[in-house]
Structure formats: C-alpha cells, structure tokens
C-alpha cells in the first residue's frame, strides 16, 4: 500500500475514462454534422453553377460580357470566378488568366485545387468550376470557391473545443477531488492497519460517516478486530491459567519426588510414585480438555446437517450416568417425552449434556436430586439440568462459563474445571446459548438450542 498516487486511484481513473468517452462521442457528433453540412453545401453549389452556365450559353456576347463584369463587380469578397474565352482559349472577359488544362469543357461541375487567376485577383484555394462551349465556339467558365465551407469547418472546430474543453476539465477536477478524498481515506486506513499489524490490536479503523461501501467494509473490519481481540484475550488468560493449573501439580510432584530420593522405605517410595502418577494423569487430562475446547472453538467443519432429537440425547446421557448417580445415592431422572428436533451435531450435543450432568452429579451431595428436562420456549426447545447441589452464587454465574473456573464452594469435587467452558464452546459453535437459571436451592443450567434471529 506504499505510495498510492492520485492518478492510480480508482475514482480518478473512472473520471478519466468517463471524460475520454464523452470527448470521443462529442467529437463524433460534431464530425458528422460538419461532413453532412459541407456535403450539402457543395452539392447545392454544383447544381447552382451548372444551371447558371446552361442559362448563360444562350445569351448574346454583349449580354454575357456585361454579366461577367456585373458579377465580378458585385463580388466584393472575391469568391466568384467568371470568365469568357474565345475559341482559341484567349481571355475575352473575366478573372481567369487561362482555361485550366484539367478542367473538362462539359457543362458539369468539377473541383480544382488551384486555378490560374488574373494578376489583380487574390488567389483562391479550392474552387468548383463549370465550363461549357457556346454555339459560336467561345467557352464560358463559372466558378465559386469553398471559403464558406472552410468557414463552417472553423465554426464547428471552435464549437467543439469551447464546448468540450470545460466538460473535460470539470470531469478531471471532480475525478481528482474524489480520488484525493479516497486516497486520503485509504491512507488513513493504511496507517491504522500498520499500527494494528505492529501489535496495537485496540486501534480501530476510522469510519468517515459517509455511509458508503468503504464505510461498511471498514465497519466489518472493525468487528473482525473486536473478535480477534476477544480471541487473543482468551488465549492470554488461558495461557495464564495453564501456567497455574499445570505448574502447581508439577511443582508438587517435583517436591514429592525430591523427597523420594531420601526415602528408604520401599512401601513409602511406592506410594510416592503412585501419587505422582495420579497427578500426572490429572495434568494430562487437563491438557486434553484444553485441546478439545480449542478444537471445538476453531472448528469450521460443522456437520450438523441432520436433525437431532434432544429427547434421544437426554435418554442416552441418562443411561450413561444412571449407575453413577445410583452409586452416589442421588435421585436421577429424565423428562424427555416431548419430541424436540434441532439442527445440531449429535456427538457434540451428547458431549455437552454429559458434561452438564457430570457437573451436576459431582456437585450434588448424596441424597440429592439431579434432573434432565426438555422444555419448550417460544423460540425453540432447551435442555435443562437441575440439581440440588451447592448451587452457583449469582456473583459467580458469568464466570462459570469461562475457562478454568471452579467454584471454591465445592471442596470435595475434583475436576479439571473445564466442563462448562467446553459446553459453552459447543453452544457457541452451534449458535446456541448456555444460561444459568435462578433457582433457590441448587443449580439449574440451560442450553437453549435455537439461534436468535
């Protein structure tokens, strides 16, 4: 984008092209008018001259000579040629020095570029001449020059220049004006993009307010930057969280293994190794969950072409978790009677609901209740998991769906803390929403399975 010049700007090129097209078409119109007018003018002259000669042939010598003199005397602008020659070609009267050799004596009009005029006459450029022989052998030649036709040419040319010059100039000025504006805007965008690329992600492209196509494009780019900032921020916080959640167990393991070096009792050693292995396993599980969330969030391949029945998903997950709930003496139930078809990826929906149920069972003490329900709202169906567990304080609700959040109020529950983040990622991918409903005892988490129009 370095060095955008005015003449390279699209508006200027457009104006230039437009001006050229305008000039071309105007010139063509003028040329047509000129050629047609000149042709008609010359045609009229020819007919007139041929008629004159035919009339003059039958006059007496005296009448004819008188006519030649009168005509020449009246021809103040020196446009006419009139001459009478004797049968030997000697000038009797008129302004032609001699009969032009190229002029046939046939009573028809001919165009000649040069004519030999008597010395006293100003020279003529182009002349139409008619010559014919009288019964007595004398030759009469009458002509008229084409000065008035070239005068017409002149007028047309001047008209063309006077009319088109300003139009062209105006087009170029407007073109240059819009080009300059556009170049200035693009340069401003270019500078901002440079700053964003240099790392200042909070910079936003300037919107001119003209509401044109460039503005709407700029607005979209700004939205894109917002999304990028969100992602970068997420990655940053995940990085911090990974450092925390992985470093802590790793440091514990390190300390424990250092202690093991001085341990003599084989049973104690075995215990330390077993504990370290468990911790390692948990660390790996955390990494796996993180990668899975990243995979879902970056997933562009989205194969939810088919309709999925939420009821079937609810029953599958119920069947999967029923023994676990029974083991913990939790009253576990499912209400999936009404059919609820949604466009979603079946495997991911099972994964999402399994995570919600997993959490609910984990955070509900023995003797409590966990329930899977399908409810219908005006816009579509939703999956709801309600439990009678520790509940989620309202102050912590928005944090719960963020990665790595684990409520401090569940001391006995162990987990990677990533379950709800995973559900949130799956919901986001589908355009669904994860909500934490307000209940007096326990928690109620809802996955609204429809897109907001």
């Amino acid at each position: 984008m370095k060095g955008i010049r005015l003449v390279q700007a699209a508006p200027f090129r457009l104006a230039l092209g437009f001006a050229l097209a305008l000039a071309g078409s105007t010139a063509a119109i003028f040329a047509y008018v000129y050629v047609e007018t000149a042709r008609l003018e010359i045609e009229a002259k020819r007919t007139y001259l041929e008629l004159e000669v035919r009339e003059a042939l039958v006059m007496t010598d005296a009448e004819l000579i008188d006519r030649v003199h009168t005509r020449l005397a009246r021809d103040l602008r020196h446009n006419s040629v009139e001459a009478l020659f004797d049968p030997h070609g000697i000038l009797v009267a008129g302004n032609l020095a001699s009969l032009p050799p190229k002029l046939p004596v046939d009573g028809l009009a001919h165009r000649l570029m040069t004519v030999p005029l008597v010395d006293s006459e100003p020279s003529r450029k182009e002349v139409i001449l008619v010559a014919d022989r009288r019964p007595d052998g004398k030759i009469l030649a009458i002509g008229h020059d084409l000065d008035d036709v070239s005068a017409l040419q002149h007028v047309v040319g001047i008209g063309l220049i006077r009319g088109m010059g300003p139009a062209l100039l105006l087009a170029l000025i407007f073109g240059a004006f819009f080009a300059a504006r556009s170049v200035a805007r693009i340069k401003a965008l270019d500078r901002t993009i440079g700053r964003v690329m240099a790392g200042d992600l909070h910079e936003r492209l300037p919107v001119s307010g003209a509401g044109d196509d460039l503005d709407s494009l700029t607005a979209r780019i700004n939205e894109m930057l917002d999304e990028i900032v969100n992602l970068v921020e997420e990655i940053r916080s995940v990085g911090d969280n990974i450092a925390h959640d992985l470093r802590t167990p790793l440091s514990v393991m390190q300390a424990r293994l250092e202690r093991a070096l001085n341990e003599r009792d084989p049973e104690a050693l075995r215990g330390i190794v077993a504990k370290s292995l468990t911790d390692l396993g948990r660390t790996h599980a955390t990494i796996t969950s993180l990668l899975r969330i990243a995979e879902i969030e970056s997933s562009r391949r989205f194969q939810c072409v088919g309709e999925t029945d939420l009821g079937e998903i609810a029953r599958d997950v119920y069947e999967l978790y029923e023994p676990l709930a029974a083991d913990k003496r939790i009253h576990f139930s499912v209400d999936s009677d009404s059919p609820a078809l949604v466009r979603a990826d079946r495997d991911m929906m099972i994964e999402a609901l399994a995570n919600l149920v997993d959490n609910a069972i984990k955070y509900t003490p023995a003797g409590g209740q966990v329930r899977i329900e399908i409810a219908h709202e005006a816009d579509g169906p939703l999956l709801r998991v309600t439990d009678s567990g520790f509940g989620i304080p309202s102050t912590e609700r928005s944090k719960v769906t963020q990665r790595y959040y684990r409520s401090d109020k569940s001391p006995n529950a162990r987990g990677s803390g990533l379950g709800l983040s995973l559900v949130a990622a799956i919901a986001k991918l589908h355009g669904f929403r994860l909500r934490i409903a307000d209940v007096r005892h326990g928690a109620s988490v809802e996955l609204a399975c429809y897109q907001i129009a």
């Binding site: 999967l320 978790y321 083991d327």
Partner: protein, 237 residues
Amino acid sequence: MTPRLSRPQVKANASILVVEDDPDMAMEILAGLKSQGYQPRHAANGTDALASIWAEAPDLAIIDRTLPGFDGLSLIAKMQEEGFHLPVLVVSALSSADERIRGLKAGGDDYLGKPFVMGELFARIEALLRRPTDVRETALTVGPLHIDLIERTAHRGSREMDLLPREFKLLEFMMRRPGQVLPRSMLLEEVWNYRFVPESNLVNVHMGRLRHKVDLPGEIKLIHSVKNVGFMLDEGN
C-alpha cells in the same frame, strides 16, 4: 503398573516395529514391549522403518504420527504401496478427533493419543494381534458364560443373568475378546460409540453393575480390573 497377561500371547514372540524419533520415548516403549514378551525393533525415521519392514517383516508396527523426513501417515501409505499389510497402531501427540480420523483414514488400524498409559498400549497391541471371534456367530461361550445373540439371553452355567441392553452389549464385546485387557477408552468407543472422555469414571460404574450380575458371591471372579487401564474377562479355569 504394567499388567501381566494371564494368557500366553496369541503368537509367541511377535515382532513389533517401533517407529519413534524421540529416543527416550522409544526406549520406554521398547523396554515395555520386551517385558511383555514381544520382540521389538526400533526405527527412528521412515526410511529406516521401510528398510526394517523389508528385511524383517514384523507382525505389527507402532508408528509415531510426526517423524523427521516423511511423516507417519506417508510411511503408512508407502507401506501399503509396497504391499505390506501388517496391522498399524498410530501413536501421536496430535490426539484431536480430526487427527484421529485422518490417522485411521490413512490406513492406521488403531490410534492412540499421547500421553498414554503403557498398559493401554499393550492392550491395543494385543487387540490388533488377535482377531475377535467371528462376528457372524449367533452364540458365544467363554468358560461358564454363554450368551445367545439372537434370543438376547445370557447364562452363567445354568443361572440366567438379567442384563440391560447396554450390559449385554458390554458383555458381548468382552466375550469376543477373552483374556484380553480392554482399556476403558476402548470400551467407551466401541460399546457406547462415544469419542469423548467423561470426567467421572463411568465405565467403572457400568462395569461394576455388570460384574454384580456376572460374579455372584462365592463364584469364581471372571471380570478382573486391570489397574490404570481397564478390564479383562477371564475364562475362570
């Protein structure tokens, strides 16, 4: 924590080619395989691996997905081009679902994400080396256990066991692979068709229920837990 197998190898001294570029990882895998009675070979890259396959015709190959030179999937493609159809276990740190599908599509027979527990590696090798009972069978018998796949009935000796559909499927899967260690992840994939790993140990709970119905107090235990890996069905003799 490596389980000792209660049954002899299907093919004694099966030779296994380990294609792994990390020397420490390779050493651990080789030591583990030796402890299980296998004859492991090592190749650090694709070219050496192909040479080794030509020279020694191993029974199975464990191939790391990311190798220097040409990667694991290209190696599998080359092997197939050259007419070698030994079972392949792809091992990779790229364990996401997409990568897994790519690995299996490229011709791998099974896919194991790093990190893994050695016991799971052994279990998956064994599963690849053995062929499960013919799927067209209509009845299966392992020791005192007998199931009828058409009537959907299960008996231990003369005692009929009342199994839920999923429990029946689980028992059927295990009876097709007697004496074989079955990792939890494999059971979740094959019996439930789930690709995700739940945080809670669901397979244990389901297996606990099945065990409750199969092994009554006083009877010989047929379902055994293999610590850190999964479960095994014994013939009980």
